[in-house]
Symmetry: C2
Subunit: 325 residues, 2 copies
Amino acid sequence: MSDKISRYESKIDEAVRKVLEGEQPRTLFEPVRYILGLGGKRLRPLLVLLSVDLFDGDPAMALSPAVAIEIFHNFSLVHDDLMDRAAIRRGHPTVHEKWGTNVAILSGDAMVFEAYRQLAQVPSRFLPAVMELFTTTALEVCKGQQHDMDFERRDQVAEEEYLEMIRLKTAVLIGCSLKMGAILAETSAENANVLYGYGENMGLAFQLRDDLLDVYGDPRTFGKRVGGDILCNKKTYLLIKALENANPMQRQELNRWLSAEEYQPEAKIEAIKQVYDELNLKAVVEKLIQRYYHASLECLALVQVSDDRKQLLADLAEGLMYREK
Amino acid sequence: MSDKISRYESKIDEAVRKVLEGEQPRTLFEPVRYILGLGGKRLRPLLVLLSVDLFDGDPAMALSPAVAIEIFHNFSLVHDDLMDRAAIRRGHPTVHEKWGTNVAILSGDAMVFEAYRQLAQVPSRFLPAVMELFTTTALEVCKGQQHDMDFERRDQVAEEEYLEMIRLKTAVLIGCSLKMGAILAETSAENANVLYGYGENMGLAFQLRDDLLDVYGDPRTFGKRVGGDILCNKKTYLLIKALENANPMQRQELNRWLSAEEYQPEAKIEAIKQVYDELNLKAVVEKLIQRYYHASLECLALVQVSDDRKQLLADLAEGLMYREK
């Protein structure tokens, strides 16, 4: 990893650590510091800074909005984990597991306002554009989460619907991070938009990789429960494709497990994974990931700066494509 | 009620009705339109417009931030009702009662972002000040709600702690509404601050009136369950004062009901009300309400505009002091 990336990462970590330091009441802010302190990849704030750097802007000035996006991302994890009843995040108990439902709701809310407080630190000439981008994105993320929950109650979800859901739930925030940097570096609208496209396609690939890791990931590094999506009948790309491509016997097997009320968790995970394997779905998803990865690089190619400046972002995308966690 | 107020009220109603009109998915936004459509007093947006008007500003320009504050207020009701497990709001089922916990969480979240979207419609020269005021206030409201929840688990809460809690939870948003108008009308910082003080004191009186109405209100007009605070052992001003002033027998009676696990709701309400009556607490609270009411008028007197312009706000405060719902 480049020196520049490590330098940016420590700046981000330092800034995140200072968020709400010493704020009272402790009951409200301790969970906020807990979830922010669990680490994670800090991908989104890093993308803000790398984007500013790409256009030769001032990364120091972009630190607050970068932190704003990281806080927003963590807020969405706190509320989503609560809604999905997920017990583990980044290898640790989720906020609602540790402190209960009400704390997860209210500490999550406080994170949104803290995110806006950080966002508002940008020089005021940027504030209208930054507010517009951030708020539009946040509403899209809410819509994505709602689709995700709606899909769980439906028998059938089309592939395009699923892809639109993960675009809203995951990809737009990656795009937003990059575009935020572009705005703050005062590059052209054209550059800002193709860079957004690079992020959006990378985000789609990123989420599909997450779907794969849920089934095929290493429990020691994944940070969430492997098979978690399978256990809660989440309509992932894998499940949607499986239901689409299954022969009658496989479909019967899938439906039996999807409607089962009492079962051994490991047995359900094994059985559904077996169908995925028979349908060769790992390769199908890998292929789609490749497609989005290449689309993201094509967008990056359209950004009007010299190729050597783009190398860091190209490397980052490659790293994410082949990540194991 | 003055023509001006009715005119502002219909402008607010019209603007609120248009919020998120036609936005998809319906599952996310129908609950938002539901809670906003239940009416309520629309006090906070009205205060924004009256404040702009006080300083001869342009109320049309203040409509979006006024709506932002109303949306924020309704968001806080959706999440607070969920955390407090309240079943009724404005005479209708609460959002979580009607659609469940997850919808109440996520639709509430979407309301925050929609509030910021509305807020960002102000002319950009106002945006930094408006953002700062709104976000600081929102964080204070979260702190107030956290104190409120923390108090429920404590045996003893001091009077000053309670008053600070309702200041954060209720009064600062009233102050914020008025100061928002002052900022948008470009009056002096001094005027903006004393007007904030008028709102803050009015807000304290307003919340104490709410505490009284919970016990002594008319169930046909109150909109919430009368005795609701008593049933959930909420540390209201009345309960705090009762625990402070009770003789040993009264204290025993209070503690017996506070720790009772199985009981007839009406019996608990009657018994606790009986102690409040013996301690003459209605009069004690009325006196404190009067004190805040007068403090709010004193702040209003310090605003540097002619007295006749202030009449509407003075009348409004009086109306709220003697409200029955």
